[in-house]
Amino acid sequence: MRNHSALVVELPEFVDAKRTRRLIRDMKAALRVDHVNLTLDLSRVEEMDSAGADMLLQCMLEVTKRDGTLALAGISPVAATILELTGLDRVFDILPDAPPVVAEQPAEVFEPAAMNVLPGEAVQSPAVA
C-alpha cells in the first residue's frame, strides 16, 4: 500500500487575484509532496473571484499530477455561490467539514515545517500500490 500524507489548508477571507499569487507560491513547495491528500478549508472565505477559482483548479492539477487527492471542505455560503457560478461545484470533492487536523497558521504565513503533514500518522491509501 502506498502511504498518503494528509494536509489541510485553511484559505483566508479574501481569495482574489492579488492574494492567490502568493498562496500558489507558498503552496508550491508543499504540493511537491507525493501522494498528498489535500483538503482546502473554505469556511473563512468571504470573497472569491475568478482568480481564486483558478487557484483551486491549479491546486487540483498539481495534486493529481502526484497521485494525490484534493477536496474542499467547510465551504462558506459565499464560496459555495462562487463555485456554483463557475461550475466548479461539480469538479471538486466537497466535504461538509474539514478533517480534524487543521493548520493553525493562516495560509499567508505558509511554512512547510508548520504544516500538518503527518508522515508518522499517514493515512493508508485504499489504492493498490
Binding site: A53, Q58, L85, L88
Partner: protein
C-alpha cells in the same frame, strides 16, 4: 367623476416617476446611479423596463385616477423635516379638495397592491361613507378613499377633518393581487407571477413565441435556448450556447456571454454576465448577486464574472473571447486550444501548469 391620489413614499426612495407632480421634500434623487439591491426598496427595481412603482402609477391612471402627487414621507425625529412634510401634504390635499375633486385616494406606498379602483368607487357610492379604508383579510392596508364632497363641507385642517370622520369609516375588502415587496424574494415572486400572467404587469416588447418576449433591439443568438416564459429586455444581447430557463427576466442593456445558463433569475439592467457561468436562483446586478435560496448578497468585483456592461474588461489574450465563442457555438472547425493565465475566467480549464506554459 374626478379622482386624484396622494401617494407617500418612504424618505429613502429615490425615483423618477411619471406623476403629475413629484414633490421631493428632502432633496433631489440621483436617477443616474444604479440602484443597489441592498439599499433600496424592491418597489423601485426595474421589471420589464419600468420600476414596479411606475407600473403601479400606470395602473392608477388606467383605473381612472386623473391626478397623482407623490410625496416623500418623513418619519424621522427631525422635527423640521417632519412638519415640512405634513405642511406639504396638507397643502396638496386642500388644493385637490378646493378644486372640486370628487374623491381622493390617500396611499402610503410600501407594497404592490392591484387595487380595483372601480369596485372601490362603487363600494363608496353604495355605502355613502366619507372615508373608506381598504382591508386585506383582517389587516388594513395603507389605502384610504376620501369623499371630496363630505370633506369640503367640514372645516379645519385636512388632518383634523380626517380624524373627525374616522369613526364613520367603512372597510373595503381587497381581493386582488398583493405582494408585500419587502424582500428580494418578493420581487422575484412578482416577476415570475407577471411572466405567468397572474398580475396586471405585462412584459413590454414583442412576444416572439408564446410566453417569450423580446424588447426592442434585443439580440439572441440562434444557438441560444430560451424557454418560456421569459423576458429579454431591449438592447440586451444573449450570446451563443446560452440557456435561459425557469421564468427568468433579463432587463434591458444586458449582455449574457456565451455558454452561460440563467435559471430562475432576474437580471437587472446593464449587467454583464461572463462566459460559461451557471446563474440560478438569484437577482443579478452589475455589482453582485443576491442568492435567493441562501438569502445572501455576494459582492462580485471581478469583471470577468459580473460587471457593468459599459465598463467590463476584455479578456486577454485579445482573441480569447472569440475563440471561446467559436468553441461553444458548435463550429465544425477543429477544436480550439485555449490558453489562459491565472487571471482568466476559471470556468475555462486552464492549460497552464505549474512551472510551464500550456
Amino acid at each position: 367623476m374626478s379622482l386624484a391620489a396622494i401617494i407617500t413614499i418612504p424618505a429613502r426612495f429615490q425615483t423618477n416617476t411619471v406623476a403629475d407632480r413629484v414633490l421631493r421634500v428632502n432633496g433631489e434623487g440621483d436617477s443616474s446611479r444604479p440602484i443597489p439591491i441592498e439599499d433600496s426598496s424592491p418597489l423601485l427595481w426595474e421589471l420589464f423596463g419600468q420600476s414596479v412603482f411606475d407600473h403601479l402609477l400606470g395602473q392608477f391612471r388606467r383605473g381612472g385616477v386623473e391626478h397623482i402627487s407623490v410625496l416623500r414621507e418623513e418619519r424621522s425625529s427631525n422635527n423640521r423635516a417632519y412638519s415640512q412634510f405634513w405642511s406639504e401634504w396638507e397643502r396638496v390635499a386642500s388644493t385637490y379638495l378646493s378644486n372640486g375633486i370628487d374623491a381622493l385616494l390617500l396611499i402610503s406606498m410600501r407594497s404592490y397592491t392591484e387595487l380595483d379602483i372601480c369596485e372601490l368607487l362603487k363600494f363608496r357610492q353604495h355605502t355613502g361613507s366619507p372615508l373608506t379604508q381598504v382591508h386585506r383579510a383582517q389587516t388594513p392596508l395603507d389605502i384610504v378613499l376620501v369623499d371630496g364632497q363630505a370633506f369640503r363641507s367640514c372645516s379645519g385642517s385636512f388632518r383634523s377633518r380626517l380624524n373627525s370622520v374616522f369613526p364613520r369609516q367603512r372597510g373595503f375588502r381587497f381581493m386582488g393581487y398583493f405582494n408585500p415587496m419587502e424582500t428580494p424574494r418578493d420581487f422575484r415572486i412578482l416577476a415570475q407571477d407577471s411572466l405567468l400572467g397572474r398580475t396586471q404587469i405585462r412584459p413590454c416588447g414583442n412576444e416572439v413565441q408564446p410566453g417569450i418576449w423580446y424588447g426592442d433591439g434585443a439580440r439572441v443568438a440562434a444557438s441560444a435556448q430560451i424557454d418560456a416564459p421569459a423576458y429579454i429586455g431591449g438592447r440586451t444581447r444573449v450570446s451563443d450556447s446560452c440557456t435561459v430557463t425557469g421564468a427568468s427576466v433579463i432587463e434591458g442593456d444586458c449582455e449574457v456571454d456565451c455558454g452561460t445558463s440563467i435559471d430562475r433569475c432576474c437580471v437587472f439592467p446593464a449587467t454583464y454576465i461572463g462566459i460559461g457561468l451557471r446563474v440560478s436562483d438569484a437577482l443579478v446586478a452589475p455589482s453582485g448577486l443576491f442568492h435567493l435560496q441562501r438569502n445572501l448578497t455576494v459582492n462580485i468585483r471581478d469583471l470577468r464574472l459580473l460587471g457593468d456592461v459599459r465598463r467590463r474588461h476584455r479578456l486577454q489574450p485579445k482573441n480569447l473571447a472569440r475563440k471561446a465563442r467559436s468553441l461553444l457555438s458548435g463550429s465544425d472547425r477543429p477544436p480550439v486550444r485555449l490558453s489562459t493565465n491565472s487571471s482568466q475566467t476559471a470556468s475555462l480549464q486552464p492549460a497552464r501548469w505549474f512551472g510551464r506554459s500550456g
